[in-house]
């Protein structure tokens, strides 16, 4: 907890700015309702219920802003934290939205009569419908894999259900037309709804249109060990993009950027003079299973760069420790290649955790990079061959201590791999006294 607070302290100004901006955006409806009060109906708790309803609605609308991949607010935290914030905020939003009808009913049970089948009004039906859609959005997001919804279908469903939930919540407010009846309050909500519509159009139409104007061509598809493929993309009629080593991109292959069939992948190459990008992708899910079938010349669209998993943000470190598990080695390639290109002389350590020796993708390239810089490479095999002389099993504290330099607490640590491995290694590093603020990881497995 102390380490967590240390990290919070480090980012506290950014966090407060983010939190303050959020509150500035969500509080105006409540403040305006205070400025233009409405005659009371049923006391304090009734007003709390009403306030929760309006707050829940604005939080629901803000969820669209949070996930719109706006780079400026995401910059201090990284896009993964923004998506986690979106997820956890949804829990608090659901609590607030469920409290809204419950408090109103508790404060005035007489309105239960309105729920009679004879007198169900649009106002009540739309509110209940909105809540139901929000519940569906959350259930399908939390248990997507267990339910068996493909990622592409889930994304479309997530968007449609969320837009439906906002529309019904708006209808609910409009149909009741009591607390929002005053023209300034009504206009505020119209402006908020207008901003949301513009945002959705920007994200779903304008951004894909911009991506369409900057297509990429697949110029090579290379099979790697461990069911991995490396795709090289070259800009088609433009200069490419500027990115930091270790960042990731949303990649659309074989489909238009309007189709919402984009997937996040780490860029696995250093910024190149010809603008080309490399992605090393493992056959894991419904999209990546067919990645090897990609034809050379296929058009791709790249929405990038995103993420703060980059050594560039910690240039003062005496050295870096990279810990990659499985395909988690992909962004580390980008980081190592960039350091090698810059002729970085600092000592670095790489722990490459894989199941078998012959399943380490781009192994020869790792060896080559290690010769160009001061890099100590430690392959850790879960199931080593009989004649294996190196490390085996899982990464442990003793193993880390054995290979880490003396002043290892000052190093910056970059972790990428399966969630279970990340949690275990983070725990070991913190036990060794590495400050949590020195441990960086990128989280992708969010839904």
């Amino acid at each position: 907890m102390r380490d967590l607070m240390a990290m919070v302290n480090k980012q506290k100004y950014q966090a407060w700015f983010w939190l303050g901006s959020y509150l500035i955006l969500v509080l105006p409806p409540l403040l305006l309702m205070l400025a233009i009060p409405t005659p009371a109906k049923a006391g304090f708790w009734w007003d709390v219920g009403i306030g929760l309803g309006f707050s829940g609605l604005i939080m629901l609308m803000m969820q669209f802003f949070i996930t719109s991949r706006l780079k400026i607010p995401a910059a201090p935290f990284g896009m993964d934290v923004i998506y986690y914030f979106h997820r956890y905020l949804a829990y608090t939003m659901l609590f607030i939205l469920l409290s809204h009808p419950l408090l109103l009913l508790a404060g005035n049970p007489a309105i239960l009569a309105e729920f009679g089948l004879q007198s169900l009004s649009w106002a009540i039906l739309s509110g209940a419908g909105s809540l139901l859609l929000i519940l569906l959005v959350m259930v399908s997001s939390i248990w997507r894999k267990q339910i068996g919804i493909a990622y592409d279908k889930w994304r479309l469903m997530h968007l449609l259900l969320s837009v439906g939930a906002v529309a019904l919540a708006f209808l609910h407010m409009w149909a009741i037309d009591y607390y929002s009846a005053a023209p300034p309050i009504k206009w505020l909500w119209i402006v908020i709804a207008g901003c949301l519509t513009v945002l959705v159009l920007q994200v779903r139409l304008l951004r894909p249109w911009r991506l369409m104007r900057k297509p990429w061509k697949v110029t090579s598809v290379t099979q790697e060990r461990g069911d991995c493929w490396t795709l090289t993309l070259t800009p088609d009629g433009h200069t490419g993009l500027t990115f930091r080593a270790g960042q990731f991109a949303w990649l659309s292959l074989r489909s238009s950027p309007f189709a919402m069939k984009e997937h996040p992948f780490s860029i696995a190459s250093a910024p190149a003079t010809d603008g080309s990008l490399q992605f090393t992708i493992k056959e894991l899910g419904d999209f990546t299973r067919c990645i090897g079938n990609t034809q050379i010349g296929t058009t791709a669209y790249v929405d990038a760069p995103y993420g703060i998993f980059s050594t560039d943000l910690h240039p003062e470190a005496p050295g870096y420790v990279f810990i990659g598990g499985g395909i988690g080695i992909a962004p580390i390639f980008s980081l190592l290649q960039t350091l090698a290109q810059c002729e970085d002389k600092r000592p670095h350590v790489l722990f490459a955790a894989h199941s078998h020796w012959d399943r380490i993708p781009r192994r020869e390239e790792l060896v080559s990079i290690a010769t160009q810089m001061n890099l100590k490479t430690v392959p850790v095999l879960e199931e080593p061959p009989a004649d294996w002389q190196g490390e085996s099993g899982y990464i442990t504290s003793d193993m880390l201590l054995h290979y880490l330099p003396e002043q290892y607490k000052d190093y910056e640590y970059f972790l990428c791999g399966p969630d279970v491995m990340l949690k275990a290694v983070k725990r070991q590093l913190t036990q060794l006294g590495v400050p949590r603020s020195h441990i960086h990881s990128e989280l992708f497995d969010m839904v």
């Binding site: 309702m33 233009i36 009060p37 986690y84 607030i96 949590r436």
Partner: protein, 131 residues
């Protein structure tokens, strides 16, 4: 670690939202408590300016050409002969006139018709209910 940070910020945000709602309800409650003791309807203008402005707009509601319904339908005067409504019976006007049209009616002035409806339209109504 990063997930924990996101969780912490989200939880803090949710708690701040709930705190803001409680503050909002408390301030509204206090405002209404202050108003509960007033009997002058115009005092409401300080807290509900839009509502009072809308109410005052009703004062201009005099344009009904069919206002005098006895003149429009003279048979009623004969049909209601003996009843106070045979003296004066007008079309309803805006809320602004809800008390005036009863207090200033010939029914009330000449026949002492109780005009009990006026009580519920008065600012004193909550006090009268408590009595």
């Amino acid at each position: 670690m990063r997930e924990q940070l996101a969780r912490l910020i989200a939880l803090t945000t949710g708690l701040l939202m709930i705190a803001a709602v409680l503050l909002f309800a408390w301030v509204q409650h206090q405002q209404r408590q202050q108003m509960a003791d007033t009997l002058d309807p115009m005092d409401w203008a300080t807290l509900y300016p839009l509502h009072v402005a809308s109410f005052m707009q009703g004062a201009e509601d005099l344009a009904d050409t069919n206002y005098d319904r006895l003149a429009a339908n003279p048979f009623r005067q004969r049909a209601w002969a003996g009843n106070a409504f045979a003296l004066e019976y007008n079309a309803p006007r805006s809320h602004y006139y809800s008390q005036i049209d009863q207090q200033q009616s010939r029914r009330t002035l000449e026949r002492n018709q109780p005009a009990s409806c006026v009580h519920c339209h008065a600012a004193e109504a909550p006090g009268l209910v408590e009595l």
